[in-house]
């Protein structure tokens, strides 16, 4: 009994001292804030920030190398937490952005050039005469954006066009980068009026191939009370574009647009967005047993 106590105590003491010495001797500094930040990160490792993952991003924030705003999925709630941990000001952070589709050329609206068969991939379909649709500027409808979305926010709708769920969209920019036609754009959540067509051809060329194309009639320009929408040079031609800085979401242009290329959407509440939060990666990499926490 006594021997048991003594021998175990000696062993305990010995290991304690060894570990203590080792801890001192072999210490490697790790900023505790990195761990703390990591707890609040979305954990999707989506790479929207341009880093190798959430861990790398957290380290970079602590090192003061990056703007926390780069984490699109985190949203305003994350910026607040980062600000609290890092002791910085949150007010400078921008409005959260979501992806908007700037094309309405579904099966009903746009004329087809040919029947496409093969792998459903926008890039591949575009390689043949700029896509099966007669319009060379719109959505190719092969669903690449839906496949790259890490949050399942984009589904292909019944008219062939992607439908974006703004409550799931985190503005991570992946679909925008993927889209070969560049008709997906990140726009602040509060913006409700969008010109949903990027066809820069003249009205007489655009009209026959798509019923909802921008025909450059300038009715929007003439009716806008805020001077916020203009037909401007774009690509090889011109197209109507909304100046989001000036737009007040009044929707007059949308009402006037003869082809309904301009649309006004229902408002998306940022409060709801914040509460929903970001879905974490399903697969638990950590099993929360706790041993891995640094000493």
């Amino acid at each position: 009994m006594l021997i048991a106590v003594i021998s175990l105590a000696v062993m305990g003491g010995l290991f304690g001292i060894i570990l203590g010495i080792a801890g001192k001797k072999f210490a490697v500094e790790v900023d505790p804030r990195v761990e703390e930040l990591l707890n609040f990160m979305p954990g999707a490792n989506c790479g929207a920030c341009g880093m190798a993952g959430c861990g790398a991003f957290a380290e970079a924030i602590v090192a003061g190398e990056v703007n926390p705003r780069l984490c699109a999925p985190g949203g305003a709630s994350l910026y607040e937490k980062i600000a609290a941990i890092m002791g910085t000001d949150v007010s400078s952070y921008e409005e959260r952005k979501v992806a908007q589709l700037l094309c309405q050329g579904g099966f009903e609206q746009s004329k087809m050039l040919y029947e496409y068969k093969g792998v459903h991939d926008c890039h591949l379909a575009l390689a043949n005469f700029k896509g099966p649709k007669a319009c060379n500027y719109g959505c190719v409808r092969m669903g690449n954006c839906s496949r790259v979305c890490p949050f399942g926010a984009i589904q292909m709708g019944s008219d062939g066009l992607p439908v974006i769920n703004f409550y799931l969209c985190t503005g991570c920019n992946k679909c925008v980068v993927e889209c070969p036609q560049q008709i997906l754009q990140l726009v602040g959540v509060s913006r409700q009026v969008h010109v949903r067509c990027l066809n820069t051809d003249k009205g007489k060329d655009a009209r026959p191939i798509c019923t909802t194309a921008c025909i450059k009639c300038k009715l929007c320009e003439k009716n806008c009370p805020e001077d916020a929408v203009h037909v401007v040079p774009f690509g090889n031609g011109t197209v109507a574009l909304v100046d989001y800085e000036k737009c007040t979401n009044c929707g007059i242009c949308a009402a006037k647009c003869p082809t309904k290329a301009i649309q006004k959407n229902a408002a998306i509440s940022e409060e709801v967005l914040r509460e929903i939060g970001i879905p974490k990666d399903e697969e638990p990499g950590c099993q929360s047993c706790g041993v891995c926490k640094p000493l």
């Binding site: 099966f107 609206q109 004329k111 087809m112 068969k117 093969g118 792998v119 043949n128 005469f129 099966p132």
Partner: protein, 319 residues
């Protein structure tokens, strides 16, 4: 805007295709199994028929249920489930209760095939897992062998060899024709060879796998035979007995669960051969074909990974 019907088709090259497709290939496999099926029915009669039918029906029903449950397209023309069921029944003893056969078949299709995503995505050969599952679950029923034609309980040739019970070993010609005890479809070497040659002729299987498999078994048993003083009889006995031929031609050549590279297939065959000899001579079971192929199935992803071919124009040739 109305739908346009007069459009030409624009697609990617090539624009022509060989008549080969998956259903055709499955039908060819079924055809290749026909000789062994007839032999099995002739030698083992009604009980064998019961086992075969219950396996195939159970496989088919499980397949349909799985596809339905997972909301996948049901393709009646595709007979891979029937192939699995038939192959499984071929490596079962004829006197097996038919509910066990059906259970094994369902296990093979549901657990081994559809939980892994269905056709083409399973890692293990479903029929062989079905057999291994039954062997581990119902060892008594699964080792109850009967004599061909009269149905009297007896031991398999390999069983006699392993247990050294003193019973006389069957003659090689008996093994060749199939008048020995054993699983329904594996006793007749000639029937399996006919089917195997048909598959080779149709180009559905690569000669490398069966040749390296059988070659390895032959070489290793020849060495053992020489040491034991059994002469050429000994390796031939091993080649013709048990499920070796069936395994080499129909199981080890399964597209889905074997390597895709040529070198990989040779390694796969050699690995199977060595394991068969190891299990038969040293292991607990008289027969090791099923386990050897399953074990090599486990290694297949690694074989594929490490036997990548040299690309054309990419340095020194090695394969």
């Amino acid at each position: 805007m109305t739908t346009q019907n007069d459009l030409l088709l624009v697609t990617s090259s090539p624009h022509i295709h060989s008549p080969d497709n998956v259903p055709n290939a499955m039908r060819d496999v079924l055809l290749a199994l026909l000789p062994a099926l007839l032999c099995g029915l002739y030698f083992f009669g009604l009980p064998a028929l019961g086992v075969i039918v219950s396996c195939v029906v159970s496989a088919y029903v499980s397949e349909l249920l799985c596809l339905k449950a997972m909301g996948k397209e049901v393709r009646i023309t595709e007979q891979s489930a029937a192939v699995t069921g038939l192959l499984l029944s071929f490596c079962l003893p004829p006197a097996l209760p038919i509910w066990m056969a059906a259970l094994g078949s369902a296990f093979a299709i549901v657990i081994v095939k559809h939980l892994f995503g269905g056709l083409g995505q399973n890692v293990f050969n479903p029929a062989l897992i079905g057999r291994a599952f039954l062997l581990a679950s119902f060892p008594v029923a699964m080792t109850h062998w009967s004599k061909p034609l009269d149905g009297v309980t007896t031991a398999t040739p390999l069983g006699i060899l392993k247990e050294a019970t003193g019973q006389p070993l069957p003659h090689l010609s008996e093994l060749f024709i199939g008048t020995v005890a054993g699983s329904i479809g594996e006793t007749s070497a000639i029937a399996i060879l006919i089917g195997g040659c048909y598959l080779l002729y149709r180009g559905h299987i690569d000669w490398r796998t069966p040749v390296s498999f059988l070659g390895t078994v032959f070489l290793l048993t020849a060495v053992v035979g020489t040491i034991k003083g059994g002469g050429i009889q000994y390796p031939l006995f091993h080649l013709l007995s048990g499920g070796l031929l069936m395994g080499a031609f129909f199981m080890a050549t399964d597209w889905v669960t074997t390597p895709v590279t040529k070198l990989g297939r040779i390694l796969f065959g050699c690995g199977c051969g060595s394991l068969v000899v190891l299990i038969r001579l040293k292991g607990g079971y008289p027969e090791g074909v099923a386990y050897s192929i399953l074990l090599m199935n486990v290694v297949t992803p690694l074989i594929d990974r490490y036997t990548k071919q040299r690309v054309f124009g990419g340095g020194q040739s090695n394969g």
